[in-house]
């Protein structure tokens, strides 16, 4: 599995790992039933500690995106389309919290923030 991890980020390695695997699952790139690399293999492959991968997998298990089968390893879970949307929204809300707070601290209104989001969607992402 290809992950793109960096040490120059405010985001801890374990969240980088869980976020990137989550994105692959929600985007359908990793389908239900697909097996994930073992914790130790991924740790070796990505040059991170075993505990870091273990915690990333635990986070994904708590979100019920993956499950483990004794002795067999980790697998992508079956997730309903509706649920995927819900999870994606939840992530977006979490990610928006900081910039929205900062914008409010700088005096922008709710309407102005919404307009800015629309602007980003229109102008920046094509």
């Amino acid at each position: 599995m290809l992950l793109n991890l960096t040490d120059i980020s405010n985001e801890p390695l374990q969240s980088q790992i869980s976020r990137q695997i989550r994105a692959k699952i929600l985007a359908g790139e990793l389908k239900a039933g697909t097996s994930l690399p073992s914790i130790r293999l991924l740790a070796r492959d990505q040059h991170v500690s075993v505990i870091t991968v273990q915690r990333a997998y635990e986070a994904l298990m708590r979100e019920e995106l993956i499950h483990s089968r004794r002795g067999k390893g980790f697998f992508v879970s079956e997730i309903a389309q509706k649920e995927k949307k819900e999870l994606a929204k939840q992530r977006l809300r979490e990610n928006l919290e900081l910039p929205v707070k900062a914008a409010m601290a700088e005096g922008l209104s709710s309407k102005e923030i919404h307009e800015s989001v629309d602007f980003v969607i229109k102008e920046k992402i094509k």
Binding site: D7, E11, A43, H47, S49, T52
Partner: protein, 296 residues
């Protein structure tokens, strides 16, 4: 589960320095970074564990066996790369390795060849003709050839160039894929170990001031700035505090506790940032026992 190693009440005293009492252990499959400034006792700890020095009191076990210098069974389980690399200087690398091989039942010449190729070490050269980097590599090969369950490394990458360092780290990551192996890695350079280590022990002036999961440190420590009009004498979980007028900046060893207090105090414009493992280590080693107490 049997511990990879265990220190029980170990003390070693020198006229101007005291190490311990040390009480700590390492579980199989774990990489423990042993972090401390020069002179904090890292090398002495390793010398005690591998039986190079006699301690004043206490005892040490390796996979459940006492590190009795008169016995050799416990030595089969360890691979040690020390602070100095001792070879027969007039012999070639190959001859040095051949000599060592007779002491280890599990020694593998195949492994030696494989590592020598990967590290690109000229084994036909005399030890005294090897560069500093190649000497470290030769020491690593001799520590790894019997596939030990516990690898003890004393600043193994100091003095290595970045390419060689990354080759060494590659091999260490590989070793760990087999979940039984443990690594005890002593260093004062955090960047060597910040990816590899599962846990960190901070050594200051002969004492372990903090032992913790690495990911807990990076999760819990934050730099927090805020505005507060009331004078406050003590911020909770804070190890460092700066103030200009009503602007404050603190370093918290547990951001949730600090943030809760700040919100009770009615602080405004609260901003928090994560810290790198290096920044955190500096705070811990500067603060010594006080910081450990804050964390606890």
């Amino acid at each position: 589960m049997t511990k990879a190693f265990q220190f029980i009440d170990v003390v070693k005293t020198y006229p101007d320095f005291k190490l311990g009492p040390l009480n700590f252990e390492l579980a199989p499959g774990i990489v423990l970074g042993y972090i401390g400034p020069n002179g904090s006792g890292k090398t002495t700890t390793l010398h005690a564990l591998v039986g190079l020095i006699k301690v004043d009191r206490g005892q040490m076990e390796i996979f459940g066996r006492k590190n009795d210098p008169n016995k050799i069974d416990w030595k089969f389980d360890i691979g040690y790369v020390g602070d100095v690399h001792v070879f027969y200087e007039g012999w070639s690398g190959a001859k040095n390795l051949k000599f060592l091989s007779q002491f280890y039942p599990d020694w593998s010449d195949k492994r030696v060849t494989e590592l020598a190729q990967r590290f690109n070490v000229p084994l036909n050269k005399k030890a005294k003709e090897l560069s500093g980097g190649n000497r470290v590599k030769l020491a690593l090969i001799s520590a790894l050839a019997h596939s030990p369950k516990l690898l003890l490394l004393d600043e193994p990458t100091s003095g290595l160039d970045p390419v060689v360092r990354s080759e060494v780290l590659d091999v260490l990551f590989e070793i760990l894929e087999d979940g039984e192996r443990a690594i005890f890695y002593s260093t004062h350079i955090l960047s060597d170990i910040n990816r590899l280590a599962d846990e960190l022990a901070f050594l200051d002036n002969g004492q372990i001031v903090l032992r913790t999961a690495k990911d807990d440190l990076t999760e819990n420590w934050r730099k927090i700035s805020f505005r507060l009009n009331e004078p406050v004498t003590k911020f909770e979980a804070v190890v460092n505090h700066r103030q200009e007028g009503t602007d404050h900046q603190v370093i918290s060893a547990n951001y949730q506790i600090t943030l809760r207090q700040l919100s009770e105090l009615g602080a405004e414009n609260i901003q928090e940032n994560r810290m790198t493992i290096d920044e955190i280590a500096v705070q811990i080693l500067k603060g010594g026992k006080d910081v450990a107490a804050v964390k606890g």
